[in-house]
Symmetry: C2
Subunit: 334 residues, 2 copies
């Protein structure tokens, strides 16, 4: 075990309190003792025990982060952005990958509470009664996919409905009328909102809504892959497939290419968040791009503001950021 404040105190024949003050530079402290304390601390390789400090201070300088899938580049960029922003302020991440599993998310949530994190940044995964009954959501900020519950909470997201509307409009402007949608579970607000935006847009453009063209599943690769499979079984292909996230889109592309369907010549594809850091993905997907790094930064700002503001009115912070549409090469003008 490493040296403690008490060890330093005994070594110098002074009291632990004095050592603590010397180390933290708080309260009146003699310059000479202060120096001595530092010397001995060095000598004894003293490392402050943050656990003890946390217990006393009721502050862990740790933020819990729950994301659905660290291997999805969208979330890994977000994670990195959060980490970077937090480090600047002296905080750390207690990392949780829920694997898009609500049970696992719940488990992690309880765990994070027990570990007394100062706050949480959560990307939820679907239908959850968890957050409905929580006493307070005041030190939580929800990000991207926010919970569909009827109460106030802080969040950072984009206007998914509008983004889906815009994307759909782009598709229609390119001459498409027959559009299939790969859709997540509607308990996910992003899934719901993106579908609503789509519906509203086609309606505004006089295109009839056909539920048969909505392929529901999750936000996973498999959902996109299987949806494309079903689409290919139909007699007439849609001219565009709208995937609600990046991973679904990859699944669609995979399935289509297995059947030698050319994108976008045979079928166009549009989606959300088709980030390509490698520059090697082909074709370049036409996609709504959320400002993912900024989302991470804002979430951190949001949570830390809340912590700093202490017990002053716990007001929720609602952040709706802008987005862009990356034109890519997967939408054909017809």
């Amino acid at each position: 075990m490493s040296a403690t404040i008490k060890d330093i105190a005994e070594y110098l024949n002074i009291s632990p309190g004095t050592v603590s003050r010397a180390l933290n530079g708080k309260g009146r402290i003699g310059e000479s003792t202060r120096r001595k304390v530092y010397e001995v601390a060095e000598k004894l390789k003293y490392v402050p025990n943050e656990i003890a400090r946390s217990l006393k201070m009721k502050k862990t300088s740790t933020i819990g982060v729950i994301i659905p899938d660290a291997t999805n580049i969208f979330y890994s960029i977000m994670l990195k952005s959060i980490d970077k922003s937090l480090l600047k302020k002296g905080y750390n991440i207690l990392f949780c990958d829920s694997d898009e599993n609500i049970e696992r998310e719940t488990e992690y949530f309880e765990l994070l509470k027990g570990k007394n994190v100062d706050g949480m940044i959560i990307v939820t995964s679907g239908e959850n009664s968890i957050y409905k009954d929580e006493e307070t959501l005041s030190n939580i900020v929800f990000v991207d996919n926010i919970p569909a519950i009827d109460r106030d909470f802080s969040y950072v997201t984009i206007d998914n409905m509008k983004a889906a509307y815009d994307l759909t409009q782009l598709v229609i402007d390119n001459g498409h009328k027959d559009i299939a949608v790969v859709c997540a579970d509607l308990s996910e607000t992003t899934g719901y909102d993106r579908l609503e935006g789509f519906k509203k847009c086609i309606k505004d453009n006089g295109i009839e809504y056909n539920p048969d063209k909505i392929y529901k599943g999750s936000f996973r690769y498999q959902t996109g892959y299987e949806a494309a499979g079903k689409i290919l079984k139909g007699k007439k292909y849609p001219t565009t497939i709208f995937a609600q996230n990046n991973v679904q889109a990859y699944g669609v592309v995979k399935r289509l290419s297995e059947s030698s369907i050319n994108i976008p010549d045979d079928i166009s594809i549009v989606c959300f968040d088709a980030i390509d850091q490698t520059g090697m993905m082909s074709p370049k997907l036409t996609s709504v791009m959320q400002p993912v790094e900024e989302i991470g930064e804002r979430a951190v700002k949001c949570i830390l503001d809340n912590i700093d503001n202490d017990d002053t009115e716990l007001e929720v912070s609602r952040n709706i950021l802008g987005y862009k549409i990356n034109l890519g090469k997967s939408l054909k003008r017809i």
Copy 2:
């Protein structure tokens, strides 16, 4: 603040010790009190304070993980694998992205010590005196890129020299003699070993080693991109570029494609860890594939074994796993 053991105790007019035992099911405890304690705990929404418990038990059930870049799919898969394995055993990850920066890594390392993690899984980033002078490395397992220090420590990695040798042999077997290498800093053992493997292989094949064909930098995209740029300035192109990791390779591909160099018709590319979960990367890179998930699992096993074995001989655990070579489509037979 949430309810404590003391609150439950007072509520029931029993002692905190009894409540603790009831909750933990340790020691003799009456079935009736036990039930009552549970009821009241529920009623008061008791959440055990893990910080206090940690302080007492000298155990945080938290493992520090330092990786160079969460947005590199190789590391994000590893991270997820570690998280999954740890959760099963009731541990959590304190996550640190060093951004391939040794100062940041050092900072995180100190921080993790202070936070009393029970162990660490570290992918180091280059030259570091940090680990040389540590009193003990016994609760650390190094992964992938292990530190180049002359002392014992636990690790999980592959035989990088042999893997590079095999990859080079494959290149040579395909008729190539003029091979350029995109190389990380040699203070990184993976960089060093992979270069050594390359050198040994060409030597064994009677090909002369030409230092001018080694393009040194870091493991970053930029290094690959710039190396390719320099290569294209030469009068005669190598027939193959060997990149030491995936990200470098992406940079190479990017730069080559900007100059409309066809891969592999004009220049072949081989590398390490060209993982493609999307299935959309083109061309498919010929690449050594480390068993990244298994590396994560093994690292977890390694660290937990060490923790469980307590103070019995702290023996280091050396794990060298197997690898595969993914043939891909970026190596041309000439």
